[in-house]
Amino acid sequence: MADLVSHPDEVKVVSRRFGQGATNIDRYLELDGYKAVRKALGMEPDAIINEVKNSGLRGRGGAGFSTGMKWSFVPKQSAKPKYVLCNGDESEPGTCKDRLIFEHDPHAVIEGVMIGGLAVGARSGYIYIRGEYRYLSNIMQKAIRDAYAKGFLGKNIFGSGRDFDIYWHGGAGAYEVGEESALMESLEGKRGIPRIRPPFPAVVGLWGGPTVINNAETLASVPHIMLGGAEWYAKIGTPKNGGTRLFCLSGNVARPGVYELPMGYSLKKMIYEVGGGIPSGRRLKAVVPGGSSTPCLTDDEIDINMDFDSVAKAGSMLGSGGVVVIDDAQCIVKFALRTMKFYQHESCGWCIPCREGTDWLKKTLVRFHAGGGVQKDIDNMRYLSENMLGRTFCPLGDAAAMPMIAFVKKFRKEFEDHLEGRPCPYEKEGAVEELPVLAH
């Protein structure tokens, strides 16, 4: 069980039931549970979609696309069944928010899926949870069973004459499956290889049927919007960036944790006030603002508001809400190496620029960090990354290239400090070499 934190600047919307025992369905009902879906049952589908559109809710998985807009792309008529798919494959390094939602408020996700289903005319939904989160799968499976037992799911939900089913589904370890088309492949029992688009999932998705895919935090926000109203939700955030965000503060800060702050909250304040600043008398070197795929910001770039548009203007992305703080005791080359090692490991290998690009970047960085780098490597890494951008089947290639370009651009001197056989200036004496990989 992960520890909860709090700060006076927090605005608790998605996290308002955290620590309240809401995994128990009766307790959830006491805390306004299943009121939103009852309300939605009395509304026209277009009215639901408009409410979500007007709230300014944007996809919390990282892309930041308008949720209401996404729902509106699903055709009204379809020969094949339509589906709602909740993406709970949370695997972006730096991100640990969906975990808390599943742990403390699983019924909010169920309610979100149901409302999404009513909006697009789907009669079933799937909640996909990553394999590592076994205890959360148990919580979610129980929540679904409890909802069926109360008659909230299944035939004639809430006596409305309508049917809705929700099923749990589990992964088995794969970052790539968080990409929406790979997620569908995985749910269909295959390797998580992305699909070519168009057609988009809203038109041709799971088993060929129109499918809405939303992140768990996005779906868990929906019931609150239905109850509080679009206007209330939109006002919490900044223009075009409605509501709150679960920010996962991690790395070299005094008080790491998951904090729910209004969209547009100052990054500087988040690090120094909410997070309590950098411990041990260290200074801030860089911050990764939205999970490992987002370009890092240097200490003089953190005076920004944390909403999708402001962070994009600053040359990075709000991403998945994973704010990783890096102090001046850390080596950026090593940090870049660990990031690329991750993307190399997770690349599905389906398309060449990603498969070869991530491998090449990792190999160069291993050699570079060990003191075997040459001047030309620095530009080569940047050139290689720039040539991956936009040339891969799915965003995993971009997710590797974008942070790599920023590391080289913003910390060129640190790369140069590793040249001419010099050992890493940050490595502690007697550091252990990389562990051998045994046959597996």
């Binding site: 695997s91 991690s250 850390q330 252990v432």
Partner: protein, 160 residues
Amino acid sequence: MKFSDEFEARFAEMVPHYPTKRSALVPTLLYAQDEVGFLSNEVIAELAGRLDLTELEVRNVISYYSMLTTKPRGKFNVQVCTNISCLVRGGEEILHHCAKKLGVGHKGTTADGLFTLEEVECIGACSWAPAAQVNYDFHENLTAEKIDKVLDEYRKKAAQ
């Protein structure tokens, strides 16, 4: 091939949730692996038969997912995260400490078959870093002393 009643009940419940049988494959493989310890030839043949797939199709899926394995491992799989949030808070030191204590490297298993060590990618414990999972249990805000205690607990558990 005999699985537990719990596995069978779950499998029977899960398959009708999907329009195609093979959709149940990924979670089923993980539950089967949890019972048997690894995905043996026998398990693969059994599940392929049940889901109307060839063994090759099942193996093709297995090789994609990092949690699935066709080789036996220790009773306790110690998975230490060294990804970025853990890295800057000493995740590598925890990994090296475990390697030294257990006397094995990445994906190595101790001679007594109790522990397998694995360096893993992000496990979603970033705000409580450095972190590790032993099988499915999370252990967070780790220090060398803390992981020592954790490993000793599992050793005791095995002796019981």
